[in-house]
């Protein structure tokens, strides 16, 4: 049970080499579940190793329960970690694996036995205690690795892509189980993954990382609905957000984005006109599920006719691909929509839900509240 704060942490593997971590700033409350997510090589595992004390930080400080642990060795930080490869000791039985850390900490044998029994019951691995890791299936090994971490009742759990070696079905099961476990134990947890679904489903807080920088830190809903930049918007969500290059035009005091499907054109009103943005190329981001099928002209939302090029029925949804402004756009429609390749659909967009990004930098633009949005962006940037 502990809070975790990461203050302005830098990490480099040598002068002259690029920084692996750049000014990382995070803090989570007691019992929160923090997800570090990003593509491979983004520094998320390095950050986790730094929290664990397996690697030294070059600058900044890591605080657990308001105590600076930056200089402490891993064993003094009172944290436990589950590794991607499980890292079970191959020559020891499951029981010995779980006991190892407790024995090293010189816990009396009676207490150890009690603790092993508790953990084994919690994870339903009682019948496996005498076995060697090589005699276990992947899912069982995963449980034992978790058991080893749970046994010490540490202040913080670290999970390094714990589910990525499991097959798809088991991964979903274990994901739910992990969430249950966390709801029950309420221990502060840091969880590294490259899987955006794990990030969305498990986390109280999510930090999206790229190139050693935290792109955005917030709740899963904030990350999903209010991404700070185009990278975050593209990384979270499946199928991913559509990015359509559009040109802005000023008309009657309003700013319009021009869409062209090849057979029709549409002007999407985006907000208050400003001379600065007139004629500029920007990126319009819209999630597949936010594109609706227009039933008529009644609801007042702007719409456009577009030709269906590919359909992908996934079961719960029907993914339809059309072309807008020479860009492939995915729409997530109800599975009972009858449409075939070559049909024309009337697609509607809610301008209020559309996100805008700078074409060059990928940063979020907000036109509706022109001036306030700039300030928002600045504070968001400072937060990194």
């Amino acid at each position: 049970m502990a809070t975790l704060e990461i203050r302005n942490v830098n990490k480099t593997y040598g002068s002259g080499l690029p920084d692996t971590l750049k000014a990382i700033q995070l803090s989570i409350k007691d019992g929160e579940f923090l997800i570090l997510v990003g593509p491979s090589g983004c520094g998320k595992s390095t950050l986790m190793n730094c929290i664990a004390g397996l690697e030294n930080i070059t600058g900044g400080a890591i605080l657990i329960d308001d105590q600076d642990v930056s200089g402490m060795s891993p064993k003094d930080r009172d944290i436990a970690m589950v590794f991607q490869s499980y890292a079970l000791y191959p020559t020891m039985s499951v029981r010995e694996n779980i006991e190892f850390g407790l024995k090293i900490r010189k816990m009396p044998q009676a207490a150890i036995d009690e603790e092993v029994a508790r953990v084994a019951k919690l994870l339903q691995i009682e019948h496996l205690l005498a076995r060697k890791p090589a005699q276990l299936s992947g899912g069982q090994q995963q449980r034992v690795a978790m058991g080893r971490a749970l046994a010490r009742r540490p202040k913080i759990y670290l999970f390094d892509e714990p589910l990525s070696n499991l097959d798809a079905k088991l991964r979903v099961e274990m994901r739910t189980e992990m969430k249950l476990m966390h709801q029950r134990l309420k221990t502060t947890t840091v969880y590294v993954t490259h899987d955006q679904i794990e990030a969305m489903t498990l986390g109280d807080k999510v930090a999206v990382m790229k190139d050693g920088i935290i792109q955005q830190f917030g709740t899963p809903q904030q990350i999903y609905n209010d991404p700070a930049n185009q990278f975050v918007a593209s990384f979270i969500g499946s199928p991913p957000m559509n990015f359509i290059p559009v040109r802005l035009a000023k008309q009657e005091g309003r700013l319009l984005a021009l869409l062209d499907s090849g057979q029709a054109r549409c002007e999407l009103p985006l907000g208050v006109a400003s001379d600065e943005l007139d004629g500029r190329e920007i990126i319009l981001g819209i999630r597949p599920e936010q594109i609706a099928l227009g039933t008529g002209e009644g609801n007042g939302l702007p719409g456009i006719r577009a030709e269906v090029q590919v359909t992908e029925p996934t079961g719960p949804d029907l993914l339809v691909f059309v072309t807008l402004n020479q860009t492939k756009v995915c729409c997530r429609l109800a599975p009972d929509v009858a449409c075939r390749v070559g049909d024309s659909l009337n697609l509607q967009f809610d301008p209020a839900r559309v996100l805008l990004f700078d074409a060059a930098s990928g940063e979020r633009l907000d036109l509706n509240t022109a001036n306030a949005s700039v300030k928002d962006n600045v504070t968001r940037l400072k937060g990194r």
Partner: protein, 281 residues
């Protein structure tokens, strides 16, 4: 698809293969057979019969005489080989552990330089080693030979263990560190128990190398401290009196038996160890 059992038991090609193999085996065994036969002959028998003839009287006199001559040196060899093998294997294991799991700045360079030791011919280190042993007061002692063999063997044992440990995932050491274990606890409780195959390889390799060594033995020992290889050479090379081939052959057999024994006992580990790491397990 035919399983081997479906084939006729004695096809022509099969007979040919077995015949070739049999001839190869016989050729290989001839020296051993000659040695064994000769060692059990009497000197008269040797001078009258031919090399491969059966002894007219099976006589242990050669073996008795040989043992009487070389037994002191046999124990010298044991006294040199056993500690040298154990020490070089132990240090090699520790070196390999550090070089693969506790890398430090320059550890790769260090390992690279250490590898030179594997390619250095014995002859190049004779003078410096002799000088060092003299300074340490270990010249012409079995302890001196132990030291030389340990130092010379370290390059090989370190290489063996380092290459074995490189295939062990780092995460094991990380997990143990988070469990609170220190450098030596991790080595003793986690790494060493996984090392049986490579320890066996190392023991066999080092035992064979050190037991069979002649050059270091002949240079760095004298009189009572000589290993059996040197004593055997002295015995065989005497130019006085009649040649006692039965004694020579028996002594050679005695000198060769321990390495044979080691292979018989630990040979399966040797093959297993050499292929370790090829398959994850």
């Amino acid at each position: 698809m035919h399983s081997p059992a479906d084939k006729p038991a004695l096809s022509l090609s099969r007979i040919a293969i077995h015949a070739v193999l049999l001839i190869a085996v016989l050729l290989y065994l001839v020296p051993l057979v000659v040695m064994l036969l000769t060692s059990f002959k009497t000197p008269e028998d040797i001078s009258t019969g031919n090399l491969l003839s059966w002894p007219t009287v099976v006589s242990g006199i050669g073996w008795v005489k040989a043992w009487g001559t070389v037994n002191g040196y046999f124990w010298n060899s044991i006294l040199i080989t056993v500690p040298a093998v154990l020490i070089s294997t132990a240090i090699g294991a520790l070196n390999g552990y550090v070089l693969s799991m506790w890398r430090f700045r320059g550890s790769q360079l260090f390992f690279g330089l250490l590898l030179f030791g594997c390619f250095l011919p014995f002859q190049t280190v004779l003078l410096p080693a002799s000088f060092t042993l003299g300074k340490l007061g270990l010249a012409s002692t079995t302890s001196g030979l132990v030291l030389v063999h340990v130092v010379y063997g370290l390059a090989f044992t370190t290489l063996f263990f380092r290459n074995f440990y490189v295939s062990i995932p780092d995460a094991l050491v990380k997990a143990a560190r988070l469990d609170g274990a220190g450098f030596f606890t991790i080595f003793r409780r986690i790494i060493l128990p996984m090392s049986t195959p490579i320890i066996m390889v190392c023991l066999i390799w080092q035992f064979t190398q050190i037991w069979n060594d002649f050059l270091f033995g002949v240079v760095f020992s004298s009189g009572d401290s000589q290993p059996i290889t040197v004593a055997l050479n002295n015995l065989v090379n005497t130019s006085t009196g009649a040649k006692e081939y039965n004694v020579d052959m028996a002594a050679a057999m005695i000198a060769g038996l321990p390495t044979l024994l080691v292979y018989v006992v630990a040979g399966k580990y040797f093959v297993r160890g050499l292929t370790a790491g090829a398959v994850k397990g």
